[in-house]
Amino acid sequence: MAIPIVPQLLRAHLAELAENDERHDGRARWESRNTELEIGVLRNAEGSAKVRIGDTIVYAGVKFQIMTPYPDRPNQGGLMCSAEIRPVAGPNWEPGPPSPESIELGRVVDRGIRESGCIDVDNLCIIPGEKAWQVILDLFAISDDGNLFDAFALAGIAALKSAMLPEVKFEMSDSDRPLPVSKTPIMCSYHKVGGRFVYDADGREELGGDERIHITLGDDDHVHSLQKGLKGIFTENEFSEIMEHAQSRCKELREMVHNAEEAD
């Protein structure tokens, strides 16, 4: 079936499908695309992961730097999370300074991880007031067919959980030790397509859809981060339905991270 790529026609087409509760690739409303996670894939990173969701492919890499703690928090290290979507990732990504879209992507993923408290920054102190670890998580997309948010979030937490503090390289010890990561925050994203929310929108659904909602849940269904993006109005009922799905899907993805860790 030919799928129109002119946004106006695409919208109409997706709306038509939605009336029969269908999606253009045959998925059910809450069904995700095939999702794969690999860890330890980047040799020069201290922790890394590759995630593929359908035709969306992203990498996450963890690097460490030594920082001076802020004067008011002498016992704390830092976490920095940065997302880049370079023009390699698709015909519409442009070179140049980060677009508003990619800035939002980085900040939303960053928040989900940061706010869960999974990285205990007090644990990153080396010498109080003088030296601490700064954890840098770089998210890097090479193929964008939609839902970079969830792909980045999944690759990000998996990369962090596989990361080794490079104590040998920095001449602090005879062996590296794992970065302590106490929780596994997981993001689920929903797009309004043809008037109703669906899970894991692909590139076409993003192009012909409306607002999106990103939910990051922690190990115990606690909410750590929310973000509504794009123009659009939603009701309390719509939100409750999404939240319910997120609670069950996050558990499955958390399982996938744990399995990858054990296989490592």
Binding site: P100, I103, E104, R107, R111, E115, S116, G117, E211, I213, G218, D220, D221, H222, V223, H224, S225, L226, Q227, K228, G229, L230, K231, G232, I233, F234, T235, E236, F239, M243
Partner: protein, 238 residues
């Protein structure tokens, strides 16, 4: 959220450091017409936050390449003045202000009838002159009043409030200390006539039950602020 569990911000009777109960708003006052050269403008004093918003347009849209054949373009900027914060803020767009500009634009685009002005531009400028927690909510609320003051047609106004959690207690409308040391923050943008949402963010840690309580506080507070907005628009310019 800072999450310093050891700063006591609410006592055993549920009284907060500034004297409010858990569900209470800070004092809010609104004026219109405060920027004489603008097509519409508003000032919102909310606690000790001080925001002004100006609306210019509908005007010709340039550069041409951003023009839209079927509707107006809404160009929204949120900015903090360098003297608005305790430590001086360096002028210039940063990632935070870019992102707030974007979510504010997304919220306003959901209600402004942009189709009425094809090929035009409407500029919305939000300036925070004094910042004391919740400035994105204060700015969005000010922008909403300024749009109404400029006579730009909207399906509804947007009212924005943030509730959160301090010392494990869910409270309405965090002040600066509560924002710095609290455990969660849930800003929402609410359409007062339908109770629907156009803006939603959240940071921190809330159980599902706490989340529901914060949500409900926001809904109640929005109705209070909405009345102040309506009164300001009825009252005529400053």
């Amino acid at each position: 959220m800072g999450g310093y569990g050891d700063v006591q911000m609410i006592d055993e009777n549920g009284i907060r450091v500034d004297g409010r109960g858990p569900g209470d708003l800070r004092p809010v006052s609104i004026e219109t017409g405060v920027i004489p050269v603008a097509d519409g403008s508003a000032r919102v004093i909310w606690g000790t936050n001080h925001a002004v918003a100006a609306v210019y347009g509908p005007m010709e849209c340039h550069p041409r390449k951003i023009q839209r054949q079927d509707r107006a373009v809404l160009d929204v900027r949120y900015n903090m003045a360098p003297f608005s914060t305790t430590d001086r803020m360096r002028p210039g767009f940063n990632r935070r202000s870019r992102e707030i500009s974007k979510v504010t634009a997304d919220a306003l685009e959901s209600v402004v009838l942009l189709e009425m002005y094809p090929r035009c531009k409407v500029r919305v400028e939000i300036e925070i002159l004094c910042a004391e927690a919740g400035t994105r909510c204060v700015g969005l609320t000010a922008a909403s009043v300024a749009l109404a003051h400029a006579g730009i047609p909207m399906t509804d106004m947007v009212v924005s409030v943030a509730s959160g959690k301090i010392n494990d207690v869910v409270v309405c409308d965090l002040n600066k200390e509560e924002d710095n040391y609290g455990e969660a923050d849930l800003p929402m943008g609410i359409l007062p006539n339908s109770g629907e949402l156009v803006f939603l963010q959240m940071d921190g840690d809330l159980s599902q039950a706490e989340f529901q309580q914060a949500w409900d506080y926001n809904m109640e507070a929005a109705m209070v602020v909405h009345q102040i907005m309506v009164d300001a628009l009825k009252g005529g310019d400053a």
